[in-house]
Amino acid sequence: MTLEPKILKTDILIIGGGTAGCYGALTIAENSSVEVIIAEKANIKRSGCLAAGVNAINAYINEGETPESFVDYVKRDSDGLIREDLVYTIAKRLNKVTEKIESLGLPILKDENGKYVSRGKRSIKINGENIKPILAKAVEEKQNIKILNKVNIIDYIVKEQKIIGAYGFSIEENNFYTIYAKAVICTTGGAAGIYKSNNPGFSRHKMWYSPFNTGAGYAMGIRAGAEMTSFEMRFIALRCKDTIAPTGTTAQGIGARQINGKGEDYVKKYGKPTTPMRLYSTVMENRNGEGPCYLQTVGITKEQEEELYKAYLNMAPAQTLKWIEKGVGPADENLEIEGTEPYIVGGHTSSGYWVDTDRATTIEGLYAAGDVAGGSPKKYVTGCFAEAEIASIAAMEYIAGKKLETLQDSEIDQKLREVDSFLTRAAGPYTIEQVEEAMQKVMDEYAGGISTGYIYSKKRLEIAKQRIDELVDISKTLKAQDLHQLLFIYEIIDRLDVCKALIRHLEARKETRWKCYQENADYPEKDDANFLKYVNSRYENGEFKILLREPVERDDIYEH
């Protein structure tokens, strides 16, 4: 089998029809007649992080808070290192985008005076089960948005150091797409499946982040030479044991405390209860033999228990199933918690494209928003919306007066042959699954995964680098029997490129800034004098060049 080449043209190409991608397309359609193509590897109705639903709007400026206090909070929680300009421009839009999604049909809890009911300072309560179908429906109704479902994008088209489109293939029909656009917005989300997961056997995909977000946007950017930031600030979630369901609903929703095996409240022993500290303290308690750790739920009322069952069904149904299957609910048994494997997720930490205040990447014609864009942690759903709005407006301005650029047929042919080669060659020595498993094992053992308590050292990273390089070579011998296997191969190629960048970033931060997320055994202390800086990288001629960049303040307009 080989693929049929197809050529498409549009004004703006959005890669990934998830949270940010759909919102960005909507922004463009509502403000212009600019033509948009959304290329989505699955189907926008339920693709990406929002598939099962989400439990709350976690980034909202409640009464008593301001965009400024939001930035202060994110900065504190991230140990002083964020792009304040990015977080601030998001913060100023959070409430507006929330109103927008409510107007599209998202139920938000209100009090008797019609005010949103807060869940802590920066969160409000919703029914997030249907959030993605609501968003997708709004997108589908727009005339100037063309949706290409089941099309996996594999690389940007770069011409004279400008992005002029992207290549992809359909996983349903034998089509190879060359999509030309005046500007491209990357919204492919973050990267899961880099490290060995909590449940590596039958339930290997019972993970927190979407296992179908495999870092394509990062990898395409790396290969095209875009500057990336803060990959070393990994995200590791504290989650319900086994089901990897969110803990916030229980911790914030009913105010459950974290307790160890002896019933002691342990987090405060380790310092301020920031997001990384709640995780770190749990890892340490387990290491010191004080585990397992729990959220203390025993004693809640049956009514509260019933509400928890519903809240989890609305976003992580496995947890409710587990309680009911066991016949013992949270009112009678504390909820065990654990840390997940590390993910690269710019919506929770800072990893991703290095963008200017308008969300333009360092390559002309390319914008980034959502989990794929770096520098601004704690975006969550609404932050992704806000960022998508900023990026789309900037992209619309950029394309004014621009013409489409195209390639010679021979250039397209070359890319097509590369893709076809995976379908036509004889099988190599290893299967796709074996390479994936090997990558996750290497990263787990040598680049700070669960099995080493998230800690890494230079010596270990050297081994990781060598093994990942070997796997990159092996990946070139993989054989696809069908289109889905071709997708699997590209997902591995992308993740291996992310691994390579990640290893370099981990090595370059010669301090320990974030417990668990980035704990360098060779440099166990924080070093503000040298490292209150962003670690950035650019892939050039087969090597990663590391650049340390100075902090950007909240009122700065950062330009490349």
């Binding site: 809890l109 339930s203 979407s210 009913i254 299957e325």
Partner: protein
């Protein structure tokens, strides 16, 4: 954790194939749905919610504490009924109005 599809009940409507965020579900020779990559399921339940025939069941793998129970859903306008059927046949039902926000 993964899903099972009851071929007897499947009406070959094709909706679950479309919506799975991992595109893990395919058609067999008779156009009925089956999960091709069982271990790749994320457990998002998107496919269950699409299936008007109630043919798709969701279960926890034994590795994460499953004991043989299955979950399926039936949508009735704004009401989403969740059914958990235990191995002894006992059924529990939780109904959620999708217009209601979570209390937590």
């Amino acid at each position: 954790m993964s899903i099972k599809i009851d071929k007897e009940k499947c009406t070959a409507c094709g909706k679950c194939l479309k919506v799975c965020p991992g595109s893990l579900i395919y058609k067999d020779e008779t156009n009925k749905a089956f999960i091709k990559y069982e271990k790749d399921c994320w457990g998002c339940t998107a496919c269950l919610k699409e299936c008007k025939a109630g043919a798709i069941k969701y279960f926890l793998g034994a590795d994460i504490g499953g004991k043989g129970a299955c979950l399926h859903t039936i949508q009735d306008k704004d009401l989403l009924h969740w059914f958990i059927v235990k191995p002894d046949g006992k059924e529990e039902k939780i109904t959620i109005n999708q217009k209601d926000a979570n209390k937590y």
